[in-house]
């Protein structure tokens, strides 16, 4: 019973993550890569992503806070961040990154700052959702 409930929960969480556009196809790729040799592949990758993102976010903050703003560097960091978030299929985050880069290209500091807030926000939301989701997945597999 419990198991079924958990599984159902997992299924519905997953569906909503996709439906609401938090995750895209790339995430499915990750899931497909998970196998017996790497049973926790998805979790591992996502963890790597969090760590790397934390670092990048910090770099971007710093760059935004410096004056004058080095837009080149900013763009570079954001490019990396975008690459990173695309790796796990973090769709909304990636989109915000793209928006940010436009402001960056236009050397619009205000725009960059605002856009970056969006990026951080989306990132935070995704991270939370993913953590809950993966935890539920773990629980479900454990109750098997």
């Amino acid at each position: 019973m419990d198991r079924n409930r958990l599984h159902n929960q997992v299924a519905s969480m997953r569906r909503s993550l996709f439906d609401q556009g938090y995750l895209d196809d790339q995430f499915i790729q990750l899931e497909e890569l998970q196998d017996d040799t790497n049973p926790n592949f998805v979790q591992e990758v996502v963890t790597l992503f969090y760590n790397d993102s934390a670092r990048l976010i910090q770099n971007i903050e710093q760059a935004l806070n410096s004056s004058p703003i080095d837009f080149c560097k900013l763009d570079d960091y954001m490019h990396q961040f975008k690459g990173s978030s695309s790796s796990i299929g973090a769709k909304k985050v990636t989109n915000e990154c793209t928006a940010f880069r436009e402001y960056c290209n236009a050397e619009n500091a205000e725009g960059c700052i605002r856009s970056f807030q969006q990026v951080k926000q989306e990132y935070a939301i995704l991270k939370r959702k993913l953590e809950v989701y993966l935890q539920t997945v773990r629980q479900a597999s454990q109750t098997a």
Binding site: D25, E32, D35, V45, L48, D52, G83, S84, S87
Partner: protein, 573 residues
């Protein structure tokens, strides 16, 4: 046998592409992990690293340890494109670039720097599954390259090239198998003469930075214009290095340089080349080195070469060509009029031959036909892997089939000039060239072929159009064409006979055929021209394009007799 040499079977399992040894370079740890997993799922052997320098070290340490490199474009310690170039120059491995940025300009840059593919992130596993094709393709090209180099060497050995023709099967316009057989036989010859016989096909020389520096130094010392593998080898003073190693590296180097040059000079390379527009790199060099220039028939405009050489009196046509990495290959072209080093040796008949070569490396299937001169025999050059091309000598006009872009032909006045002005346009579709060509040339009277015109006239009318249709596949996946980068020039010193400039076929990827039917006023000139080379596509295939530079029809040009065919003999097979 050759394939076996290429290492398909070892050190991996036999079930190629399983076990393909991939080196992945990416500073993003998340991607590195994902790619590693994906590649492992494809049954490839994966090594990862997150720094470009680390990657280079790994590559240098284990010289033959990897089959392919996949690298991200943006890396903190070194630009991905730089890494790409290093790998290409030193290790000559196929490199795939990746990026989250798919802008056309970036992709183009990647291709220009020699990437054999450019993947956009996020990367799907199915995209990685097929990367083995790049390895395979390269192997094939290398084989061909080596063969042609060997052929070149063997030809050099014989000095006259006649030996090569003596063999019956040369005349039959065979496929490369016979060529290979001959090669094997010749290899024995070659081995004796080469300083390092074991290096013929096997050990791949790793061009370390040091070695490359020596090479560049030697090249600069000699003077890029006059450079040739033997000279470089002598200067470099590296005992274990063979002339072939140097020759093939020189090929790539030229390509690399011309690529750099082209980046700022694209337009100029299109269309008729004014010789002055081209860097004076004599050697055609840039012909399709497998590496970056895979000419594929694409949408690249065709280049035509036209040049006129005065005949018999020295036809010295200085052919210089450049390959435009953007897809146009400039075959060596004769120098523009004034500069045309057409030495008129015998001034007796100031004949000038005007030849325009259209090199269109078009789609494999296209056939080019030219109006034939007197005899309308189509020339076919069957290359093993290339579709047939038909060449017909053209008297007056060229027709190209298959929509090859027609290169501007020399003005009508030129044609008019002499009744017999003949113009041969060759559009080599890098496909098959058949020696028939030679046969067909026979009937044409020299006069017809190379009308003699006043020097000035010919020069003035020269249209040196070098339009090579080179579609550079540049390592893109589908190269339909492997243009032979064999070029053969049959230079002829004319003496009353027409000037014959034999077909030059570029080995490797670019095949440029120069039809010179004209030059044979009489019987073909086969004899004169040793055009027999035409007879044997395999042969032609074997002459590395770098021969071009040797073939300078220019007197002042030096060609090192030891290295090149006796241009003075007028013929080269």
């Amino acid at each position: 046998m050759v394939l076996a040499e290429s290492g398909f079977s070892s050190p991996r399992n036999d079930a190629f592409p399983a076990g393909l040894r991939v080196l992945v370079v990416d500073d993003d740890p998340t991607w590195l992990k994902i790619l590693e997993k994906m590649l492992k799922k494809c049954s490839y052997e994966v090594t990862t690293c997150c720094l470009a320098r680390e990657a280079l070290n790994l590559l240098r340490e284990r010289k033959d340890g990897y089959d392919i490199v996949i690298s991200d474009v943006n890396m903190p310690d070194m630009d991905g494109f730089k890494l790409l170039e290093h790998v290409g120059l030193e290790m000559d491995l196929p490199v795939i670039m990746m990026s989250v940025d798919g802008e056309t300009s970036r992709v183009m840059k990647g291709v220009q720097h020699g990437a054999c593919d450019y993947l956009l992130k996020p990367i799907r596993m199915k995209e990685l599954r097929n990367i083995w094709q790049h390895v395979f393709r390269k192997k094939i090209h290398e084989v061909r390259d080596i063969e042609s180099l060997e052929g070149f060497e063997s030809i050099q050995m014989t000095r006259s090239g006649y030996d090569l023709f003596d063999d019956g099967h040369f005349l039959s316009g065979d496929d490369t198998t016979s060529g290979r057989k001959r090669k094997d036989a010749d290899n024995k010859h070659d081995d004796r003469e080469l300083s390092d016989p074991s290096s013929t096909k096997k050990a791949r020389v790793v061009w370390t930075v040091d070695l490359h520096q020596k090479f560049v130094k030697a090249v600069n010392q000699i003077g890029f214009d006059k450079v040739g593998p033997k000279k470089i080898l002598d200067l470099m003073n590296v005992p274990w290095l063979t002339r072939e190693n140097v020759a093939s590296h020189l090929q790539k180097y030229r390509l690399y340089l011309s690529r750099l040059q082209k980046e700022s000079d694209i337009k100029n390379s299109f269309i008729g080349m004014k010789h002055s527009d081209l860097p004076s790199k004599d050697s055609t060099a840039s012909f399709g080195p497998h590496k970056a220039m895979n000419m594929i028939p694409d949408d690249v405009p065709n280049s035509t070469y036209s040049f006129s050489a005065s005949n018999s009196q020295a036809q010295n046509v200085d052919l210089k060509g450049q390959v435009d990495l953007k897809g146009i290959t400039s075959a060596p072209m004769a120098e523009p009029k004034g500069a045309l080093s057409v030495d008129i040796r015998d001034s007796h008949e100031a004949k000038s031959t005007q030849m325009s070569f259209d090199h269109s490396l078009g789609s494999v299937d296209s056939a080019v036909s030219f109006a034939s001169f007197n005899s309308t025999t189509p020339l076919q050059y069957p290359w093993t892997e290339i579709p047939e091309i038909q060449f017909k000598q053209e008297c007056e006009s060229l027709h190209l089939e298959n929509g090859f872009s027609q290169l501007p032909l020399p003005g009508p006045s030129m044609i008019e000039n002499e009744a017999n002005r003949s113009r041969i346009e060759v559009k080599p579709l890098l496909d098959e060239c058949r020696s028939n060509f030679v046969e067909h040339l026979g009937p044409v009277g020299a006069e017809d072929l190379f009308p003699i015109q006043s020097k000035s006239q010919s020069l003035n009318n020269q249209v040196f159009d070098l339009i090579s249709a080179t579609k550079s596949s540049m390592k893109t996946q589908d190269v339909g064409l492997n243009y032979l980068a064999d070029s053969e020039f049959a230079l002829r010193n004319l003496n009353a006979s027409g000037v014959g400039i034999p077909l030059a076929t570029l080995s490797e990827d670019l095949q440029i055929c120069w039809l010179q039917g004209d030059c044979y006023p009489m019987n073909y000139g086969l004899q004169d021209l040793e055009c027999s080379t035409y007879d044997n596509p395999a042969l032609m295939a074997e002459t590395p394009f770098h021969l071009y530079d040797v073939l300078r029809f220019d007197h002042e040009h030096l060609f090192d007799p030891t290295e090149y065919y006796a241009i003075d003999q007028g013929l080269f097979a």
